[in-house]
């Protein structure tokens, strides 16, 4: 399997001519120049070198690689869904109503009072949430400087807090893999703007002390932020709002099965409790007499996206929620948790922490990254590796609800087969993939990031 670059097939340099004066235009453009059949084959072959959810099991921990229903793609492709955001509101009532419904159902699912759809990804949701927290504190004349983030949290949490201008206070984990209450007590202060928490956490563990945690943070005047990455574990069984979280984001590409698209687009709607609703981004959608309108919440943080976020993703998310309803959403979590527990029971790896929910973190005897590469040879996608660090050589595994027992068994077989292989085989893996083990060091040491850079060699 090898496919030349477009630039290696046929390019053409076109002299640029225009009605514009010469000094306002460029000289030439040199780009690939291929026919439609040639392009169809090019991208078809590229697709064949790519592993997707419909290729096989995809148990990437923390990523929630669920099946993306086809009908949602069709719904998003409806020509009447393709509108410009600056049309008069009276002529885009369908779009506004759909947005309103999605705000509403997300609120109900998370136990939140108001939801903005503007953040175009989970990290953007975090940023929005922290901006809201900041605006809230400022509105209270309260200029706090710290955000607390557990050591096991997603990297985005740290980066987000920093981006928003906060000092990051890293919270070490307790021996049981959960928040260390003593450490938290020590960390919380009048400087605490927010605690960012994932629940279940990245080890798949429910933070049993969540009520105490919320009390502690709230008592200090801080806000509790819920990272929605693991919401697929809780649908219909617990709601962040009910646990005391003031702000949360939803990763709709995880929990609500919109396709990951090879890295995006996703969407990261943010829900907040009543007292924070006035700080949400502009615009927000509300009901009017007989219709829907956009407005700027009174103390809005403003914009986190040029327009209203990743509409085509939001449409799919709403379609998914409308299809599943209460029973389907709740069953999705039940089966996700069942699958994780079943798979864990079938593999010969140490799993230090539990009881876990929709994901577990196993510990490999060898380098977890090597184990992952070798798993590729068994035709499955490996788990997330080497993280969280609380587990040595972590294999963070989240099969989601879409796998059946047979494919879980297939995964378990792959896990165990690798565990019993000699180190050479593992270190030289993969051998059955489109590319063999790729040299990361050279890539980073002498970066070649375009075909132009290759030509220069």
């Amino acid at each position: 399997l090898y496919e030349p670059l477009l630039s290696e097939k046929h390019t053409r340099e076109v002299e640029v001519e225009s009605d514009l004066p010469d000094h306002l235009i460029r000289d030439s453009v040199d780009l690939p120049d291929l026919s439609e059949p040639e392009l169809a084959r090019h991208y078809t072959r590229l697709s064949q070198m790519n592993y997707g959810v419909e290729t096989g099991p995809f148990p990437l921990g923390s990523c929630t690689m669920k099946y993306n229903p086809k009908f949602a793609d069709d719904v998003a492709a409806h020509p009447k869904a393709a509108t410009h955001p600056e049309r008069p509101a009276s002529t885009r009532q369908g779009t506004l109503e759909l947005r309103y419904h999605l705000q509403d159902v997300l609120g109900r699912i998370g136990g939140m009072d108001a939801v903005t759809l503007q953040p175009p990804a989970g990290a953007a949701g975090e940023f929005t949430g922290i901006l809201v927290a900041k605006a809230y504190h400022q509105s209270q004349g309260d200029d706090r400087s710290e955000v607390i983030v557990p050591d096991s949290a997603h990297g985005t949490n740290f980066a987000t807090a920093a981006m928003a201008g906060y000092d990051v206070v890293t919270l070490p984990g307790a021996d049981d893999g959960r928040v260390d209450m003593e450490a938290l007590e020590a960390a919380v202060s009048e400087e605490t703007a927010a605690l960012m928490l994932t629940n279940p956490n990245t080890l798949g563990l429910f933070e049993r002390d969540i009520e105490a945690i919320a009390e502690l943070v709230h008592d200090a005047g801080g806000l509790l932020y819920y990272d929605g990455a693991n919401l697929n574990a809780l649908l219909g069984r617990a709601r962040p709002g009910d646990m005391g979280f003031d702000i949360m984001h939803y990763n709709v590409h995880k929990t609500f099965a919109t396709p990951h698209g090879g890295g995006g687009p996703g969407a990261g709607p943010v829900g907040v409790c009543e007292r924070l609703a006035e700080f949400l981004p502009d615009p927000h959608v509300r009901k009017t007499n007989g219709g829907f309108e956009e407005y700027a919440p009174e103390q809005s943080v403003g914009k986190v996206h040029g327009y209203g976020g990743n509409w085509l993703v939001l449409v799919r998310a709403y379609a998914y929620i409308a299809r599943l309803g209460d029973a389907g959403l709740s069953d999705a979590s039940a089966k996700a948790v069942l699958n994780a527990n079943y798979l864990a029971s079938q593999i010969d790896y140490d799993i230090p922490f539990g009881p876990f929910h929709h994901e577990f973190v196993a510990s490999a005897d060898e380098d977890a990254a090597d184990v992952a590469k070798r798993m590729l040879d068994y035709g499955v996608h490996p788990p997330t590796t080497k993280w969280p660090e609380a587990v040595p050589e972590a294999l963070m595994t989240e099969p989601t609800e879409i796998e059946n027992r047979r494919s879980l068994d297939q995964l378990a077989t792959a896990f165990d087969a690798v565990a019993n292989e000699d180190i050479d085989t593992i270190e030289q893996a993969p051998e059955n993939t489109a590319a063999r083990r790729i040299d990361q060091v050279t890539a980073a040491r002498s970066p070649r990031l375009s075909w132009q850079a290759l030509d220069e060699e």
């Binding site: 040199d30 064949q48 009908f71 890539a443």
Partner: protein
């Protein structure tokens, strides 16, 4: 599945009752409930009150919703465009191996997407003339925000003021404000001269405190910017960054950013591959090689596999949040990779000539329509004595809002950008639609 929908569960969970029972049995528990470790006090035993629906009923529901959008002929732009997307783009980008895949953390089974993103980067390198392009930001607005924070990390520049044009889309300005909220940067506007940079004003404002100057080409008013090279010289003289905002179609025709001294190029790349999507976009981000290790977002690079064969991989990941945490260049993780794939396919299907032709259409269509609109009594167009790209501002003797409302009654949407100003974007409208707009304008204006 066993029926049109599964009233008792997710239609996408494959478990038969027998299989569920057997799996529970293996785990030694009676029900899935027993697997949840949630304290009683925070258990949720309510309902969301969301009814499950069959696929068909869900589609009917959504179709009915979006069908409440009126049939409107949209002469709208200002950063969000609907260039015709060839069917090829859907057919290829929707292949499940692409759209259902994850970020390429296991490059050995993601060579296809990586190569496509590498090709996207390369096309942007060609179009911008800069050395490095990442493989997407969320949209033009967030890309601009990232450019400003990049400025704070670049050693060669200092200061705390970001200068932006007075004429700037509110979404971009607002987003930029938020992106710099965690830095010590402040955003200041500089005045425009007939919808181009007022060079004198910028010159007089320049001092060592200006860390970055942002300009757009074309501007949000659709004018082609004529002062880029001078602006480039000016920022050079003051050791501040020159960030140019543009879009992927305009890049094919207008001055090459590198040639006017741009250090960073941001803008909208989803004007290829996506069409109108209620504002959803894809941010392009390119910059000079010297900023390589300060670039936000993902970069695909070339390496070799164990057999010496060329292979692609995400690289320089130590810039990113999952490694660098609070010292990352950005918090971005999920980006718009699939939109970049679509833009690349669209660009490739146009080819260099098609892309230049399209860009030239953006000039001629706007110019022609402005002339016709100008002939309408009560309207003067274009307001700005500049070259135009895709769109132009027109003066209306009547209040603009009233004119737009009359046009809306006739099924046309235009922007209201001032008390007596409307803005009209036209490239992809048909001749018939343009004729009809002019006719409607004759009644409305």
């Amino acid at each position: 599945m066993s029926s049109e929908y599964t009233p008792d569960g997710s239609p996408f969970a494959p478990h038969t009752p027998d299989e569920t029972a057997a799996m529970l049995d293996v785990l030694g528990v009676d029900s899935e409930e027993d697997l949840f470790d949630i304290p009683e006090a925070v258990r949720f035993d309510g309902s969301f009150d969301i009814t499950e629906r069959s696929e068909r009923t869900t589609r009917r529901h959504l179709d009915a919703l979006v069908s409440r959008n009126d049939d409107v002929v949209e002469f709208l732009g200002r950063g969000h465009y609907d260039h015709y997307v060839p069917s090829l783009v859907d057919a290829l980008s929707l292949r499940s191996e692409f759209i259902t895949s994850y970020t390429q953390y296991q490059p050995e089974v993601a060579q296809g997407f990586l190569q496509a993103l590498f090709e996207y980067q390369s096309m942007l390198v060609e179009l911008t003339g800069l050395d490095v392009a990442n493989c997407s930001m969320y949209d033009a607005a967030t890309a601009l925000g990232e450019a400003a924070t990049l400025a704070t990390r670049v050693r060669s520049v200092s200061g705390s003021v970001v200068l932006v044009p007075e004429l700037l889309h509110e979404g971009r300005r607002g987003t930029l404000e938020n992106y710099v909220a965690g830095t010590d940067l402040t955003v200041e506007s500089y005045p425009m001269d007939d919808a181009n940079v007022d060079l004198d004003a910028v010159r007089s404002r320049m001092d060592e405190d200006v860390v970055m100057v942002y300009a757009e080409n074309p501007t949000v008013a659709g004018t082609v910017e004529e002062n880029l090279a001078a602006l480039g010289d000016l920022t050079d003289d003051h050791d501040s960054l020159f960030c140019l905002g543009t879009d992927v179609v305009a890049l094919a025709l207008l001055q090459e950013p590198a040639s006017v001294g741009a250090d960073v190029v941001v803008g909208e790349a989803a004007s290829l591959g996506l069409g109108y999507a209620d504002g959803m976009g894809m941010g392009l981000f390119a910059c000079d090689e010297s900023f390589l290790r300060q670039v936000p977002g993902r970069l695909v690079g070339v390496s070799e596999d164990a057999t010496g064969k060329r292979a692609y991989t995400l690289t320089l990941q130590t810039r990113e949040q999952h490694i660098r945490r609070e010292r990352a260049t950005s918090n971005i993780c999920t980006n718009q990779a699939w939109v970049a794939l679509r833009a690349a396919i669209h660009a490739a299907s146009l080819g260099p000539e098609g892309l230049v032709d399209l860009a030239n259409d953006c000039v001629s269509a706007a110019t022609d329509l402005a002339e016709r609109v100008d002939a309408v009594k009560g309207v003067r167009a274009p307001v700005h004595d500049r070259h135009h790209f895709r769109e132009f501002v027109a003066h209306t003797d009547q209040p603009a809002a009233a004119v737009a409302a009359d046009l809306a009654d006739e099924g046309f949407a235009v922007h209201v950008v001032g008390e007596h100003r409307i803005q009209i974007c036209t490239t992809e409208r048909t001749d018939g639609q343009r004729d009809a707009l002019v006719e409607a304008l004759e009644d409305a204006a």
